[in-house]
């Protein structure tokens, strides 16, 4: 049990409270789940969580992965004026409930006694200076920029294109310097804020493809700006459609299908000279290689090669992510789906490129071995020598510190979607060279 499990259950409890009355089972089990996670992780000692400039600390220890994965939750807490949370063992259920209710904006009274807000036991100096240049921070910055971009599209303002360009440049640097880390980062998933994570992942995948192609940095950036902004038009699509459980009806589809042209319009209205190409990717990313997709292209050519490249990355990341209406696919199954559509929906050359880039067992893939242990791939130069991290032993024990192992492909039983075994491959970023 760790900080992450506390945050997972805290988020569930907070969301449930927003939806249901206090006595609803979802609320009760959310609060109790959080209580259990807290007691497990704290044992007998006290615990303080501090939020500074988007970074989460447990005592003086930065929690870089959680800072990123729970950026929405943490932003919400900061929005509610909460900067530190101090838990004193044993945490009492009513104090916890009060804390969750306050953070959800459902109660004006902050909790007292075993859970307390804003005591600030650590100064910023105590916590040390955050490493502003880590891949994670760059990922988070790209996501922030994208959020701003979508917000401005929703409000009919100009997209901050200069910021987006900087975000893309910084992602490119990571992709060049630490390609494995970049791909691992691109496996970051979140059910909340899907479009943000998804778009940043697509940008990273596109950049990785561009590196495999030996593209000029300028071309890479042009490509990735389009990839990052490809779905900004969704900010003008009714929000409830985006996370709808169940499938969309015909009229909802019609609304959803407007997002390419909405995005293109917003980009054309905001771009400085040289940035306007991002509109091409936004407009064409669902047009399909055979031009039978949407929207109707008013010109005779196929979608631009960059759009075709982004489409393939788009679909790959979407398929490997769990959505409200279907589970995540393993990388192999996702590639298989792409291969089936090669020549019609997808440009066969782009599918080949992606397949050859991510390979049989891509970085970040979760593999189950013959003995039922689980490993996360960190590099796979060939099938005899897959570099991986052992995250769960044959006896089913989760390792807090994963162990580097070399795996022969013959021992691999199957690839698993990460969410099904509750593994976040990007958590192991620091262990990847």
């Amino acid at each position: 049990m760790n900080t992450r499990s506390v945050l997972v259950s805290f988020r569930q409890a907070k969301n449930a409270m927003g939806l249901y009355p206090q006595e609803h089972p979802a609320v009760v089990s959310g609060v109790l789940g959080t209580l259990k996670a807290l007691r497990d992780t704290m044992a007998e000692s006290d615990m303080t969580l501090t939020l500074v400039q988007g970074h989460l600390y447990r005592e003086r220890e930065p929690q870089p992965h959680e800072s990123l994965e729970f950026s929405d939750l943490l932003a919400g807490l900061r929005g509610a004026g909460i900067e530190t949370v101090t838990f004193t063992a044993p945490v009492q259920v009513n104090d916890l409930r009060q804390a969750i209710a306050f953070s959800a904006g459902l109660s004006p009274d902050p909790p007292e006694q075993s859970v307390r807000f804003n005591e600030h036991p650590y100064s910023p100096e105590d916590l040390g200076i955050a490493d502003d240049d880590s891949p994670r921070v760059r990922y988070a910055a790209a996501m922030d920029t994208l959020k701003k971009a979508m917000l401005s599209v929703g409000h009919d303002d100009r997209i901050p294109m200069a910021d987006a360009t900087v975000a893309v440049e910084r992602l490119l640097e990571v992709t060049v310097a630490q390609p494995a880390a970049a791909l691992l980062l691109a496996t970051l998933k979140s059910h909340d804020g899907y479009t943000f994570y998804h778009s940043v992942n697509v940008a990273i995948l596109s950049l990785a493809m561009s590196q495999n192609l030996g593209m000029d940095p300028e071309a890479s950036k042009t490509l990735a700006l389009g990839a990052l902004l490809h779905d900004v038009g969704k900010a003008r699509v009714d929000a409830k459609l985006l996370n709808t459980a169940g499938r969309l009806g015909p009229d909802e589809w019609a609304e959803m299908r407007r997002h390419p042209q909405e995005g293109a319009t917003a980009i054309l209205a905001s771009a400085a000279p040289g940035q306007e190409f991002a509109a091409v990717v936004a407009f064409e990313h669902h047009a399909r290689y055979d031009r039978t997709g949407y929207p109707l292209l008013g010109y005779a050519r196929r979608p631009h090669p960059f759009s075709r490249l982004v489409t393939v990355c788009d679909v790959y990341d979407a398929l490997t992510t769990r959505r409200s209406y279907r589970r995540a696919e393993s990388p192999t199954r996702a590639l298989l789906t792409l291969a089936k559509g090669a020549g019609t929906e997808f440009d066969p050359a782009m599918v080949d490129l992606l397949v050859s880039m991510v390979g049989v067992h891509p970085v970040g893939a979760v593999l189950e071995l013959e003995d039922q242990s689980l490993v996360v791939v960190t590099a796979a130069p060939n099938t005899e020598r897959i570099e991986a991290l052992l995250v769960q032993t044959a006896s089913g024990e989760r390792l807090t510190t994963p162990e580097p192992v070399i795996v022969d492909e013959k021992r691999v039983v199957e690839q698993l979607p990460a969410d099904i075994v509750d593994v976040q491959p990007s958590e192991f970023l620091d262990l990847v060279g």
């Binding site: 071309a219 293109a264 319009t265 040289g274 091409v280 279907r326 397949v355």
Partner: protein, 573 residues
Amino acid sequence: MVAALGSAWTTAGLYPDVSKQEPFRVAAIRISRYAGAELRVRAGGFVISGDPVPGPDAAGRLANALFLHGTESLGFTQDLTPESLAHLLKIVALAPEVVDDQGGLEGMVAAAGLVGIRLTMRNQLAGLGGDTPEAFTVPDEPDIPLEMSFLDQLELVAAQPDADERTAAVMGLIDEFTGLAPGSQAELIDRLLGTSRADLRDLFLDQLAPNDLARVVEHLDPTAFRVLGEYVSYVEGPRRGELTEAIGDPASVLRFRARVAESVRERMTGIQLARPTSAAAPSADFAVDHEGWFQASTEVMQGVALVEDRPDRQGRVAEAWKTRVDVSLAGQEDEQALAWYNSIIDLDDPPDPLAEAVAQVPDTEQIKGLLERRRAAAGIGAREFVELLMGSDPGRVIGPLADAGEDSTHLAALAGDDPETLLGAIASVDDPLPVIVALKAAGYRGADPRLIELLDSPETHGRAEILVLVGPSLGVDRLGRLLLEEDEAVSRQAAEILRRGRTTAGLNLLFQRFESEDADDPEREFLAHLLAGTGDGANLLKGVMTASNLLTGHGRSLRAAARSALGSAEEPR
């Protein structure tokens, strides 16, 4: 009704003789309850009294199929029987060419003697003439496999509030399920286990017999198998033992695992996964290509304009387009600005907001910038742009050209035989004189009356200049009114013309104004000088000088002005 139709359509695809199946019969009965309702058929869905009816994907597919057969509307009467509905759907499922060969949908329905169905067809000739080609293409609804529509049905069932009816409906679905081929069953369970809607999954699995489940286990995807194991671990009571036995005896698990390991490798070879060897050489497609990127962007500008059909959003498209032109012109990228401009003026029938934007962009200042750059050696794009504008709308160019010092003869030549462009430019230019001179130089018949009209309106720019040209032809009364205007340039010009006319009436007007209490000292001075230059006028002024009864302050100022004017007239400098 649309939901029931969708479910009937899905079920009809599953069975050779669907009318005997319970879910289908239920759907048919539900449909017949809507006797009298008429569904208009559109590509992608049904429409009732102008509004699209939401429904399951299957209903959308049925609508598409009906649309392709040329159906305009579909309705039912109370006589509808499951048999007759099943027969209809069977015909609809045929390829349009086949149906056409056998007399069309309407003909086939009539020939089969189907009861309870009311069909109207689109007038094919009118349809072909009037409808756009897009109307005949089926929208790109993602192709949902059968198993997905099964989930849709399950979702409908789950929404059923009555528990007994819900159970009965689930049993109906299970009947359907057991009629499927084992491969399809496995696919369906696979999808079911893949959905994050645990409620749907449990709703169905809770009532599925263990041996039905056992049959599909072997064909399941590994991940689905895992979820199934999880599901079983939640089940309580004796059923849990039954299920565990059905799916999980050790031998079958081993068999299963071996098969899975093989299938992973199979898949890999199936899609010919190549190991990354060396980075592929960048093809021209991926090289830096500013020109190509820019061209694609202008095509997308046009594409967006073509595809956007809502007026409010068209306004946004117009804004975006204007931004492109503005940004390019501000960066002095005249060729790019021209390309953006062309992307819209090339459209046959641009939407209104865009047409309006085209009429306003580039604005006068931007045209002036273009003209300046056109003069510079490098202004190639600017030159083309200006020529394009001159060709399509010379009125917008003439004003800036005049301001840029273009001579009147050239302006007149540009305006061709249309005085309106020159008359229009008068309002916008810094110095209207060259335009007005051009107007006179071109010798347009009827130009004077139009100028005089312009003179009447106090808002007209350059009235003093217009007055220079048309003043002599105006009557004294008219000039007298202009003399009283606040606009000093106009009133002084009017005074000048009156003086030059040297009529008694005219000079009297000038003198009256000179004496008027409304005139201020500088104006009085000016008028006095005008009068002093003419014989009669000088006499009038002398009268003022000698009038001994004018000793008030006011009279003193009048006399001072007269004295000064007369003095300078006598002693010219």
